[in-house]
């Protein structure tokens, strides 16, 4: 993905205060992109690509069922869970940053948030966007309060929680990267299994219901997949920006095709390319939060798609391509 390079800093070693281990022969961005950045970097990048692909594919269905901003609320709602996981691990005498505790806590509070949004939107007269925004704000605020408690505790490792905000590849353990990649592959497998049902419900829920498909169960499956992507993406992309991996690749993919299967595949490829490129840049510039770099790479691909995507892109439309005209009519 040469596109990714445009957002990277020039491939020179960091000039100031780099960690001792980075002083020796820094591999260039090109070498890292070609998987020559050392074993750990390769594992992290492949894990990132798997996550990006899963997020891109899940995002298509989240967007078609208008759940894009719900994903943002679920992501922010993981913060109190991460903090509670930290506190639980410390209480049990374990290091606070144990990944299983943090992810289990994150999944638990995100689930509670999803339930709250559903209850508010269905049982009160508040519209869904109000439910989403108020749940996002209240849960995230509860997370901030818990973090401020953690900061005053006399245990180590508090600083490590920062990576869950904006993501980081630096300091990621090989085991963590492999675990996350396995989860991402599992999500992709579930998606492939449910593909027909997901497409049917996403494009024509009434038709699907009339033919006896369990629309509510499939909608729930979409929310569950979104939740899984959010939790798995926390370590790499961070909870503030993970929603971008669910929103930007599908938006970009719509400019390349009008067919559901192609859009999903293209979205997965764009998601994978963004995460892969972002992780590579982040290996060269460890100071930059990985999540932010991945999002900028994704946005660059989105901008290119808007301009030249054959299905609905601005240039093909301006020059009157028949496929573009069809896309506009659709």
């Amino acid at each position: 993905m040469p596109m990714a390079c445009r957002w990277g800093p020039p491939a020179v070693p960091p000039t100031t205060c780099c960690e001792p281990m980075n002083v020796a022969a820094e591999p260039s961005l090109l070498a890292i992109l070609l998987l020559q950045g050392g074993y750990n970097t390769v594992v992290v990048m492949l894990g990132a690509a798997a996550l990006g692909a899963a997020a891109g594919a899940v995002g298509v269905f989240a967007m078609l069922r208008r759940r894009a901003l719900v994903a943002d609320a679920l992501a922010h709602a993981t913060l109190p869970g991460v903090a509670l996981g930290f506190l639980a691990a410390v209480a049990l005498g374990l290091p606070g940053r144990s990944l299983p505790f943090l992810l289990a806590g994150a999944a638990a509070t995100a689930l509670l948030a999803a339930l709250s949004i559903h209850l508010i939107a269905s049982r009160t007269r508040l519209p869904e966007d109000t439910a989403v925004a108020s749940v996002l704000a209240t849960f995230f605020a509860a997370g901030i309060v818990l973090l401020s408690v953690i900061q005053t505790l006399r245990t180590g490792g508090q600083a490590g929680l920062d990576v869950y905000l904006l993501g980081a590849t630096a300091g990621m353990l090989r085991g963590e990267a492999i675990t996350l990649a396995c989860f991402a592959v599992a999500i992709a497998a579930i998606l492939a299994l449910l593909f027909k049902e997901l497409v049917l419900v996403a494009f024509d829920a009434e038709f699907a219901a009339a033919h006896g498909f369990p629309v509510r169960v499939i909608d729930l499956a979409v929310v569950a997949l979104v939740l899984a992507v959010v939790v798995i993406g926390l370590r790499l992309v961070g909870l503030v920006l993970i929603v971008a991996l669910l929103v930007i690749p599908p938006s970009a993919a719509r400019f390349w095709s009008n067919r559901a299967a192609s859009v999903t595949l293209i979205s997965a490829v764009i998601g994978a390319a963004s995460a892969y490129g972002g992780a590579a840049i982040s290996a060269v510039a460890p100071d930059l939060p990985t999540g932010a770099v991945i999002v900028l790479v994704a946005f660059a691909i989105f901008a290119v798609s808007v301009a030249i995507g054959p299905a609905r892109g601005l240039l093909p439309r301006a020059f009157g391509s028949r496929r573009a005209a069809a896309g506009e009519a659709a």
């Binding site: 800093p9 967007m63 208008r66 894009a68 901003l69 943002d72 508010i120 939107a121 269905s122 049982r123 009160t124 007269r125 508040l126 519209p127 869904e128 966007d129 109000t130 989403v132 925004a133 108020s134 996002l136 704000a137 209240t138 995230f140 605020a141 509860a142 997370g143 901030i144 309060v145 973090l147 401020s148 408690v149 005053t152 505790l153 905000l165 904006l166 503030v240 920006l241 929603v243 971008a244 929103v247 930007i248 599908p250 938006s251 719509r254 400019f255 100071d287 930059l288 939060p289 999540g291 932010a292 770099v293 999002v295 900028l296 946005f299 989105f302 808007v306 609905r312 601005l314 506009e328």
Partner: protein, 305 residues
């Protein structure tokens, strides 16, 4: 005791409460026009504006920061409209794309320009730092009427008071128009009232409220205050004027109680921990909303999507 209250607690409480009030007032109209996520979006997009304004001018003067934030908000609005109308991207996806990309740009600029640790802290922009407002000029209660001491109040308070005055004035003067467009845009249009124009006024007011509050209290308190007090008030009444008043009372109560919980609650239990006031104020507002949703008389019938 009184001394520390005046110097430390009063200004911080005032900042938190004023921000809560200005955001909640505007929030009533955001909730009714289905734009509840607006605070979240604006809170994220102004980051690159603030950073670029600082890098270009080298100062953190108020008007520079406000200009940068306003420019970024305008740029974001333009981009969202462009992707929606020209490129045909679904509205919430266009919003999600633009605000995450701009926030990411802001974060990268922060790190690349080296201001991350010296001038700005991304955590303060997200979490808020209500406690930063202090009033060292206060000596005792006579300071409250001493013009010289009052002039040394933290500058955030002046900005928030200005924002509050503008928001209040517009709501009072244009209340009929705002109400009509919020509840029945189609009918409003038949009366010759442009829903687009009134909608723009609402968004502009919300942007003003967000910009004056952001630097003082952080993104999350802005989002919470734009949604929770109005949503709670909506569970209690059908009348818009009453709803706006109730939301203001809830915002005030959240500001005062939330700050008190952060500053005094741990000490009251003899605990050495300290709580972030922006977080406790937002959680208090969320609890008010929860109570209103559970017990309010106007919870309403289930709504079919």
């Amino acid at each position: 005791m009184i001394f520390t209250f005046l110097q430390i607690d009063l200004p911080a409480m005032l900042v938190g409460t004023l921000a809560a009030l200005v955001c909640a007032l505007v929030g009533n109209f955001l909730v009714l026009t289905r734009q509840s996520m607006f605070g979240d979006a604006v809170g994220h997009v102004v980051l690159p504006g603030i950073v670029i304004a600082y890098v270009v001018t080298g100062t953190t003067a108020t008007w520079v920061m406000l200009a940068g934030a306003a420019a970024a908000a305008l740029a974001a609005a333009g981009l969202v409209e462009f992707f929606r109308r020209v490129a045909g991207v679904e509205p919430s996806a266009a919003l999600g794309t633009v605000f995450t990309a701009m926030f990411a740009l802001g974060v990268v600029l922060l790190e690349q320009t080296g201001v991350a640790r010296t001038t700005f802290d991304v955590h303060h922009i997200l979490y808020g730092n209500v406690e930063a407002a202090i009033w060292p000029a206060a000596v005792d209660f006579s300071s409250l009427v001493d013009p010289q001491a009052l002039a040394a109040l933290p500058p955030q308070i002046g900005r928030l008071a200005f924002g509050l005055a503008v928001v209040l004035a517009v709501i009072v003067v244009c209340f009929k128009e705002l109400r009509l467009v919020s509840f029945d845009p189609v009918f409003a249009a038949t009366l010759g009232l442009s829903p687009r124009l009134v909608g723009t006024v609402i968004v502009a007011l919300a942007a003003l409220a967000a910009v004056v509050s952001l630097e003082a209290v952080g993104v999350i308190l802005v989002v919470a205050m734009m949604v929770c007090p109005p949503a709670a008030a909506r569970m209690l009444t059908d009348d818009l004027a009453t709803q706006v008043r109730i939301s203001a009372v809830i915002a005030l109560a959240s500001g005062v109680l939330g700050y008190a919980a952060a500053a005094f609650l741990p000490a009251a239990f003899g605990s050495p921990i300290s709580l972030g006031a922006a977080g406790t104020i937002a959680v208090t507002a969320g609890l008010f909303q929860l109570a209103a949703m559970l017990f309010g008389p106007k919870r309403g019938a289930p709504r079919r999507a």
